[in-house]
Symmetry: C2
Subunit: 562 residues, 2 copies
């Protein structure tokens, strides 16, 4: 039997986020990344979306380890939910990534149960018959790696998230040499990041942002407030460096920002000249500093309603009030779906008199993902036999596949697969052999998986036109109504101004009740078919309300027997 | 008394859409545009947002007319709602605009009540002491105009929506000469379109899209499906022209698309060589035509769930099935807030095997709004004394104001005002003298204004965590519960899998009822304070549910007395 190698994406293929790839050879399983996805606008009330790991539940004893490529939420965020289901397999990650994971597991009180092993690029780790080595990649967080997995079937390379930055802030380039050497050895299959496969050209170096910041810092006469993702350690480093050059002190605002800066400092991934960073207890004295000596780095780059920057923009922050003369730098792009919130924040900051810098042309943000020409470079270095685009919505995967085809990989060796499609690869061919369950699992509050499509559909209906509740109390002996029908609505119309409509609706229900044969049959009243009556009420009311208002509120008849 | 001129924006300043400007001199009022705004994501269930015209209600006899600058919804869409409130003042618009308005008024059965007067650029119309002339502007719909209003206080120029396109499809450029002549006469105040004030450089000519289409048509081997806004008549013209060049026949799909094409053809603003356009009755025979002889123009460029293209992408369209070999051209940008829907449509089209062209780099769409350099050209031609940026969210207005300042207009002569701010302008100075009501009025189904903040907040709460309804029937004489408490939920958890939680919640309510002094006081039971009991139930249940789930569903206790 030819040795075959299986890959089962449980997240991140066909969507942005919740990246999780299961790699399987014979009895050994290695997992790369266990990320979270942020809900789309229509996933109402959902906090997080995590992978469905049911495929793994009867294979827990075969999981040799979980490799986390870098410390972003879309690669680490589902660990607290998935680890307990998988019997806490050991985690392997670089120093900074391990540090960030520790913080997360501590919050979920899982620290005691998990072994986190620190890896470093160039070193190898054995996972049963599999052998993993790690190579340095540049991304928008330091200490990212890709994985080269040596399997008896051949060498498999997974890039993680990456870009080719010739001048990264931490001076650690993506490891061209090792990638080329792997390519020379012969790579069976490459999994490569597709997030920006729709972007032509090259992603600019993180250095570009530093140069832009320098200009804006030189020009600013008042306070400077920079917002970015809390995980963008390199960006935060550049802000601190620029602040130091312009004799400004830096305050860190927002829980996740403080947390990440602290851990990155402890582990040596973020450095500040003495006296530049304000200590937590010094933040209260911010007002004593002249505005032109102050920089604040804050959360809120996505316009999140409870974030520090959004509160400032809404004049709702305890400590910081935006004043004319402030410069606010939006050092992050809006994640698709967040545009309205981000723009509202920018508008409100302008309304308070701040100057706001945002958008492509200001150079205050660059992406951490490779654009098309970099994807070509990766493919050219690694020269794989088979290619699987990963990390992207479907169009990204398709565009990345086309790039690979343009570089000469035959179409039959390129696999555009989505979550749950099991790809088996041998030396001679690859094929999708199976589909496993890989749908969305929703986290809402403490609940994991208890909000499903039924609940979401109800929320969507409630959101659209609200709810009309009809209550009736009936005599269980006669089957006759003895109180009600009462009608209460929420999210439908403002009732005080629409009493007439509600009164008419009530009359409709009364008519329906009277006309209902089920209710009039009082000789054998206990047999009254309440489901029939409820359906009847729902039909009559639904039609009446639609005629009157062209709306379709949820209609909920409640019958109590006494 | 120096003659003063008042402008009162009732929409479009501080937001994109529902453009409506009231211009007032002494006893004469002219209104420019009565547009609609599409709801933001958080305006749940709302269909349209229209201006609040309460400022005008006691001045109806002074309204001399409504000028509509062009036929887009954000300039015409509130007419059916606002005209009746204002006693049907006469409308003035160019031929195509008038045609599109007629269609709209007909749908609302208002045709008989409204006089639509056709104007043409270069002609003048008297509105009491005011005299309006119209000048040609290029935009993404033909027959657009700006307005020069001659008032005793001075000359006021309103650009409407515009760009400077040297090679528009209909060959009618923005009227440089007239604008320059007005500037030479001396313009008191300029109102200018700010929609793209955040875009550097020049907006490309509509011609660019034609050139891009030509290349894609030349390369396509199968069917071509083009989606765009139904109002983009020039775009539709270019698709028809290109189709004719490549011997393809064109089918028009989607109600609004068919409607607009029909009226534009009738009025001579859209022409097709004989035989190119498929008649409605020929659409059924589409399948008989070889794919490479077919072009479809369809609605759905925003991923609207019920649009033709979205249905095709979801394999849910009655007539058209997407097959490998189809080329789909997304000839429109996503309106902010629609990105998720548009991307989902693109992904689904790719999944069905189509090739999809979208985005900036494909040149399949250009904007109809002036970018920064064009805004400078407008300001330089008109050379106004006072400047008011219009049509834009707050940041657009601010950036446009900065552009004007950069061209030498003194800051005190630039007015960044928002909806409801009354600006009075005289020869010597301008000032905001008053704030009038100009909030959002929501249209939901047939209801206009009956969905307000209370209803929206309820919908948001329901969308977030659903609703828990607690019903109890009590004896009105004893005040004691005789049925229930029953608990029903919607949009909270999937109850079948969470019966235990619901049972515990019921127990909590029972405990609360027993502990409630109001209920035990059965000697004077009719005095039972049900509001107190309801609040108590709400408190107890809210706390219990939050502890158990970290969710905050709406809790609605309903008590029936028998």
């Amino acid at each position: 039997m030819t040795p075959r190698f299986r890959c089962i994406p449980l997240g991140g293929l066909g969507e942005i986020g919740r990246n999780m790839m299961v790699l399987e050879y014979d009895r050994d399983i290695v997992i790369i990344d266990v990320g979270v996805m942020f809900p789309e606008n229509e996933m109402l009330g959902v906090d997080l979306v995590i992978p469905d790991v049911s495929y793994l539940l009867d294979k827990v004893d075969r999981i040799r380890g979980i490799i986390i490529t870098h410390g972003h939420e879309d690669h680490t965020g589902s660990l607290p939910y998935v680890l307990p289901q998988l019997g806490f397999p050991p985690i392997w990650a670089t120093t900074l990534t391990a540090g960030l994971i520790s913080v997360k597991l501590k919050e979920h009180r899982l620290t005691d149960r998990v072994a986190i092993n620190v890896i470093s690029p160039g070193k190898e780790v054995r996972f049963g018959a599999l052998r993993a080595e790690f190579f340095r990649v540049c991304h928008s967080i330091p200490d990212g790696v890709g994985v080269a997995l040596h399997t008896p079937a051949g060498l498999v390379v997974h890039t993680g998230d990456f870009k080719f930055d010739y001048t990264p802030v931490d001076r650690r380039q993506t490891d061209f040499a090792r990638l080329a050497a792997l390519g020379a050895q012969g790579v069976l299959c490459l999994f490569s990041d597709s997030t920006h496969a729709d972007q032509a050209g090259y992603t600019p170096s993180e250095r570009v942002v530093g140069e832009a910041l320098d200009g804006y810092f030189a020009a600013a006469r008042g306070r400077i407030i920079v917002t970015t993702f809390a995980s963008l350690i390199s960006r935060i480093q550049q802000v601190i460096d620029t602040a130091a050059r312009y004799d400004r002190r830096v305050g860190i605002i927002g829980r996740s920002m403080v947390q990440n800066v602290t851990i990155a400092q402890e582990l040596g991934y973020l450095t500040a000249p003495p006296g530049v960073l304000l200590k937590a207890e010094e933040l209260g004295q911010l007002k004593q500093l002249p505005p032109r000596q102050v920089v604040l780095i804050t959360t809120g780059s996505q316009g999140e309603p409870t974030s520090a920057l959004t509160r400032m923009a809404n004049r709702d922050h305890r400590q910081i009030e935006i004043v004319p003369g402030d410069t606010v730098i939006m050092s992050a792009g809006p994640i698709p779906g967040n545009e309205e919130l981000v723009h509202r924040t920018i508008d409100n900051l302008f309304r308070l008199g701040a100057n706001v810098l945002w958008g492509h042309e200001t150079n205050v943000h660059v992406s951490g993902h490779a654009s098309q020409e970099e994807l070509k470079l990766m493919l050219s270095l690694v020269r794989p036999k088979y290619f699987v685009p990963v990390h992207g919505e479907y169009r990204h995967l398709i565009l990345h596949a086309r790039i690979a085809q343009g570089l000469g990989i035959p179409p039959q060796n390129i696999f555009v697969i989505e979550d749950g499609e099991v790809l088996e690869i041998g030396p001679e061919r690859g094929e999708v052999t199976e589909h496993v369950s890989a749908g969305y699992v929703f986290v809402d509050g403490l609940g994991v998986g208890d909000v499903g499509q039924v609940v979401l559909r109800d929320r969507q209906a409630l959101a659209q036109d609200g709810i009309l509740i009809v209550t009736i109390t009936v005599d269980r002996h006669t089957g006759l109504p003895i109180a009600g029908p009462d009608i209460v609505s929420r999210g439908f119309v403002y009732v005080r101004e629409n009493e007439e409509l509600v009164e008419k609706a009530r009359a409709q229900v009364q008519l329906a009740l009277r006309a209902s044969p089920a209710v009039s049959r009082d000789d054998e009243a206990r047999q009254v078919d309440w489901q029939y009556v409820k359906n009847k009420i729902r039909d009559v009311l639904s039609r009446f309300v639609y005629e009157q208002t062209r709306r379709r509120p949820m209609i909920l008849p409640l019958v109590m027997e006494v």
